[in-house]
Symmetry: C2
Subunit: 290 residues, 2 copies
């Protein structure tokens, strides 16, 4: 079964109305927004990643899902395996740091023995929670921050030379909570970029029933990334960015730092443009499981 | 670090008021009750347990935490690794069965690649949600159903001879949702028996600031268990029962089938009585991790 087939099978189960047909990263329950993630050693983090950074990433990636809803974090539920002191103690230090950094208290959890698979459920409050599905033809596509830094950081974590700033983007992503809260009432669609800018933009287009065209040359890259490789296609497909991807009617400018990278059109699917010409899509648009 | 040391470390993190100092199986958020569990292959289930039963147990054990709060299930968030079809398809069948059996829809989730570690967060609604901490000296201690069947079922799953009824108690536990809802407004303290009757009774006493005395001879055993071994101490420490353990003032009788197994006294700790005489506590009162 592929990830898509599994998702289709899950959609045949009895679904809560707040599950939004499992088409989004977070569920709704009244004013609450709920999201859950598993973080698996060897899949989502490397065996020699520092444990405090793993704890940071576990919480930060879930808070990024809340950011995409414009939510204020309410608390997290943690599923944590009991390992050895050399791992668990720095993990708890990183956990304390990330909870403090985003004013997000621990609400509950479960401790077990077993391998290094962590589970986190994050709960936030949001009045207007945008989905991926509201983009309309004619609207502009925007993204916060810079793209590709975390992908470079992964390569650096795996042994390639490169600056600590890029490594930090991979190990300590910063959920765009303030940006999400400022944008939530303005955007027609919003999601966080977790699996890759191209694959996530394609998902936004599919959920919205429109086409998306992205200008490869407009994708914002950091000075560090430009110095490191500057490979735009690699940046656009690497994932783990945890920036916000959103759409706005043409006349509206975002009230936060963001870059206009494309537009929504009638039709379906993703097209890529560079110097005004169509660019063939790469074989892999981003990360998928299985 | 032991499980108790980990819990102490988690309690030093910023805690949500609804976390109830991590002294309970479920957190409170307004009318909502939230609980999360990890289910790990080789720890919580055997590698050759049928996948549909693993799915059942994943959901049923979390709903048992909701039952102890008298909650009505609202939905679950699932963290599921993508495995192979021979495992995943029957897992999804069991998932559909347990969600239908308890009228509990899927609210969201996350699919990943990785080993067989599942995460579930269950959310319910409860007006009066009893905790473990309200028992008072002089009250009676009660338990629903029968104890020890699941422990016998585990031994049978591991190859010992025994009836299918006991095996089913291990593989398809039945959360006492209706009983919990009927009891919630009456009890002074309530929790589910997951790690063992004795260790869980000790936890209830500790949370309540009282002592608990249990009459070993009063612990309810099924006819099947009596025929299989009838070992009362094994039953009282085996765990995985998912029955409700609760306290009531002396004059109140429970409105559901239950057995009075002991009483709360002033002081602290657990004592065990048989034929009117003190029985030494066994070395292990139940299951702990790490």
């Amino acid at each position: 079964m592929t990830e898509a087939e599994l998702l289709a099978a899950l959609r045949r189960l009895p679904l809560h109305p707040g599950a939004l047909e499992l088409s989004d990263d977070a569920a709704r329950l009244g004013e609450l927004v709920l999201t859950t993630d598993l973080l698996v050693e060897g899949v989502h983090f490397l065996p020699d990643d520092p444990p405090d950074d793993v704890a940071w990433k576990l919480v930060a990636t879930n808070l990024s899902d809340l950011a995409a809803k414009g939510a204020v974090p309410e608390g997290v539920l943690l599923g944590m395996p009991l390992h050895d002191d050399g791992w668990d103690r720095p993990f708890l230090v990183g956990l304390a740091e990330v909870l403090a950094a985003y004013a997000c208290p621990l609400l509950g959890g479960d401790t077990v023995s077993g391998g290094r698979t962590y589970a986190l459920t994050a709960i936030g409050r949001a009045a207007a929670a945008p989905t991926r599905g509201g983009a309309r033809a004619g609207e502009a596509l925007w993204v916060t921050g810079t793209i590709g830094d975390s992908g470079a950081g992964l390569a650096i974590a795996q042994g390639q030379p490169g600056p600590a700033t890029l490594l930090a983007r991979y190990r300590r992503p910063e959920p765009r909570l303030a940006e999400g809260q400022a944008l939530a009432g303005l955007v027609s669609a919003m999601m966080d970029v977790s699996d890759g800018l191209l694959i996530d933009a394609q998902r936004l287009a599919a959920a919205s029933g429109c086409a998306v065209a992205i200008d490869l040359d407009a994708i914002p890259l950091s000075a560090d990334y430009l110095a490191w490789s500057g490979d735009r296609m690699a940046a656009a497909t690497a994932g783990d960015d945890y920036e916000l991807l959103f759409t706005l009617p043409g006349a509206i400018l975002p009230p936060v730092a963001a870059t206009r990278i494309g537009r929504c059109d009638s039709g379906a699917g993703l097209t890529l443009i560079s110097n005004g010409a169509l660019v063939p899509l790469p074989a892999t648009l981003g990360f998928t499981h299985g």
